[in-house]
Symmetry: C2
Amino acid sequence: MSEEKKLTPRSKDFSEWYNDVIMRAELADYSPVRGCMVIRPRGYRIWELMQQALDGMFKETGHENAYFPLFIPQHFLAKEADHVEGFAPQLAVVTHGGGKELEEPLIVRPTSETIIYSMLAKWIQSWRDLPLLINQWANVVRWELRTRLFLRTTEFLWQEGHTAHATDQEAEQEAQMILRLYRRFMEEWMAMPVLTGRKTDSERFADALRTYACEALMQDNRALQAGTSHNLGQNFAKAFDVTFQTADGGLDHVWSTSWGVSTRMIGGLIMTHGDDAGMVCPPRLAQWQVVLVPIYKTDEERAATFEAAQRITRELKQAGIRAYADLREGLKPGAKYFEWEMRGAPLRLELGPRDLANNSAMMARRSGGKKEPLPLDGLAARLTVELEAMQRSLFDAALARREANSIRGATKAVLLEKMAGDGGGGFVYGGYCGSPTCEAEIKQQTKATVRVLPDEEFRSPTTPERCLWCDSPSVTEAVWAKAY
Amino acid sequence: MSEEKKLTPRSKDFSEWYNDVIMRAELADYSPVRGCMVIRPRGYRIWELMQQALDGMFKETGHENAYFPLFIPQHFLAKEADHVEGFAPQLAVVTHGGGKELEEPLIVRPTSETIIYSMLAKWIQSWRDLPLLINQWANVVRWELRTRLFLRTTEFLWQEGHTAHATDQEAEQEAQMILRLYRRFMEEWMAMPVLTGRKTDSERFADALRTYACEALMQDNRALQAGTSHNLGQNFAKAFDVTFQTADGGLDHVWSTSWGVSTRMIGGLIMTHGDDAGMVCPPRLAQWQVVLVPIYKTDEERAATFEAAQRITRELKQAGIRAYADLREGLKPGAKYFEWEMRGAPLRLELGPRDLANNSAMMARRSGGKKEPLPLDGLAARLTVELEAMQRSLFDAALARREANSIRGATKAVLLEKMAGDGGGGFVYGGYCGSPTCEAEIKQQTKATVRVLPDEEFRSPTTPERCLWCDSPSVTEAVWAKAY
């Protein structure tokens, strides 16, 4: 744990750096089950803080949590044709239970639309029961051949929202409201700027009318799809016969949405802010926002600095700051600094005898810059300001990096140039004719896909007039990138 | 939802009453997957409140949350002989993944000791890594032939704590500390009194040195095992070779514990406090602690009572009370009262024009008694006191009921009489020789089992001298009951 072994630098091998950070910061570990990961306490704490924030936002917007079975009868998946086709290669199948072969195999949920709609059919009778706004925090399983910690694992943790509405319009509003909610969470909590917009048909959830997504740009200039929100129209309602009596006495199928974000976001957090010293955690999602390290030589100094570290930790906690005093003995201060930098703790306070004599502590910011002595009087207020400033500055830096790696009004030549080679990437904005042929050709030749047809606030001042690939008239602006 | 159909009375059929309450209060529902339930939002909210309280208690005592894979390689279970024997008939087995038959089947976790110990073997090197205190909130699967909502389902939600220690003594202290923590949660939050104590060998977790349990007495006089805590000794450490370097340079296997409570507790909550009008929810676990119902005839009265209900709800929320204004139109106040009684909301405030004119509201307690007008001034403070009083009085009533249905110093004749017939039950304290033969005979003839060898604070002033069954010398006092 305390060996001061340097990480693989990002510039040398980003992917190895990413794995190194996760292992060395003890965020997660490989498990003996192929494709499944173990989320260790330091990683899980980030997930808990994410959950708390998101759950509050879901509840504020009227959603309630529920829990549906892990298992789905096999024939349910076949009820929605696109659904079974999309997931068939990824399913884990339970064939035996209680010592016997099952009459019908059970699927371990890859997502819960089918089991949920079978229940909605029972619960929804009239327009008075609508909208029905449900969320579930759960584990899901999608068999993966090539896995990466947090980004793509056979089992992962997520939330899946499922809502039913009386009209198409309400479902559309919900899907878009959730997209904005996700964006707000990612920007305000993760300090990770995202583009939002609609997916093309080839990239949308097969069962959806429209899929919306949040896309972030990682430090290696590849895009990460960090959350999706689907307007499902009446597809599942029809497959599971979920009808309701309308206010004027008619009968209609409900209109529905589903949306989700997962532990994949932790991967996004690492690849957005991390540096060659390890994880950099935005203060709002940090297990410990301030870590105190006592510095001493004599027993007397040890007693005084420990006492001060504990007292200050208590005071900071009372002020709502997640503070931790690292009082391990037999470990030098430098080794502790190294560890807490690896783990991404936003602020460090060094407390030595000379600091105490001056009634101050030396503050170091994980995001860089000179150390600074802070008076102990009014410390909590000052650190609160520091943490807020760091939260903002991490976002600003990530935004600046994204914009520096985005290009607008791109031509075919620019797209080819930007995507060339393993190091190529970034967000490339350009005109798009809407043809799946162009989309497929671009993907084949550059590995780039349309990440989104951007929402209004992300569009270029003037929409490009021609498709950057085939030069036919453009129907929309699109953003291409190589994606995780 | 609003049909005012009466519940089956408890006295007529307790089991049917129980199912009725769950369905009518919309706590849970049967699912299309055999043995699995759906936890509906009103039931899940109780679970969330339970989780919050317990999670805080676990963290205060130094535990951290983590997440381990859902799947366990089949050969892991065989590493601990008693473990595989205990769980074999209850396993769900994944044989196919990603469209192919697996080389080795995967077990859906019935509990996570094996997968967790395989990781601990990697993480623990030295005494400095101990104690390691981990908890996991997760779903687990145990195939059940006869299921009951919340009490026994094939899939259920729980927390499972897993800790590793340097000494036998520390592991024992942890197992007992958690037992006390569970008791505190059940008594202070669920208002459900429990006996604590040790299990006999026939009732303990097969892999444990010692199993401790919390046992509550339901209104039908049957016992519910509401939580267990196991001292696992070195059994799993040896099976998975989890060793550590001791402080004096030696090598030893870790000593470990595991402990869990589950959604079963929601069943206990219902069967402890419910009455013939439905659920009675202790305030600390109630989704809505206070429900406001406006009463009006004219449009003017409607506007005034709605405005007041909303304003008061805001004020109560600011004071930390979970308050809800039921502003549904087209539903009479009486129908709303009926519903909220079914759902167990602790306090109801009725707001009519006359109440408003008097600057007051009419309060009704779910636990019974006369309605009472309360001045709106100082309402939040008054309701806070009411809620605390109800929390206490529910506990007191449950404790009085349990004690009225407990008998100490029982003879064989008394045990037989108390357990006779379907209606028989209660806690029967008596001397026990410690022989599995007596235990088995008693179970066969009365259906009663030893729930616990009670902890000191629950023991009778003098330990009975003879076994109530065989009349040999008693080695301990035991508590018998018929159990869920």
